[in-house]
Symmetry: C2
Subunit: 104 residues, 2 copies
């Protein structure tokens, strides 16, 4: 049983600034988190009818266990990544953590 | 550039019935989607202060491309999985689709 952090970012007021900071700074910091097994980023697109998706960006990080996730997020690299949220995620972010299973 | 479907399920009224149907029926159907590269399920836990997470279950499916995702969801197996939502997801589900990148 792995452990997953899902971060759902609300639509920012300045999309270009958000995307640049996320890609150039935040993703680089998050990639340094110790023992992360996978870290993926998705940018949802509008639906077929043009409706805006509920979130601007989804990040999914997976560790081998809840203990590994806790230690990783509590490390210096983890604290730095969390502190960086203040620099770009003012529109809000929903963080969800829990056990995860790979079906495929 | 891969393509990702993120399904965010709202908290069901009957958690046990939802979980049983998801694991025994829906996950089995979703795992049969053609050309899915990965499919993972996470059940978020309450926060450190006991607050209920915003969603009950998160499913993430990844294909090699938007075209592969479209063909997969439009296949017989895809139609069957989508139709099955009516059987257990009455509390609502948010579907988000878009390009995704594996950073780690």
């Amino acid at each position: 049983m792995s452990y997953q952090l899902t971060a759902l970012y609300n639509h920012p007021s300045d999309v270009a600034a958000f995307d640049k900071h996320y890609d150039d700074v935040h993703a680089v910091l998050a990639a340094k988190l110790p023992d992360v097994r996978s870290f993926s980023i998705s940018r949802p697109q509008p639906g077929p009818d043009g409706t805006k998706p509920d979130y601007h960006l989804i990040a999914v990080l997976v560790w081998d266990s809840a203990e590994a996730a806790g230690a990783s997020l509590g490390s210096e690299a983890g604290k730095e990544a969390v502190a960086d949220l203040d620099n770009f995620a003012g529109a809000g972010v929903t963080m969800l953590t829990g056990p995860s299973t790979a079906v495929v």
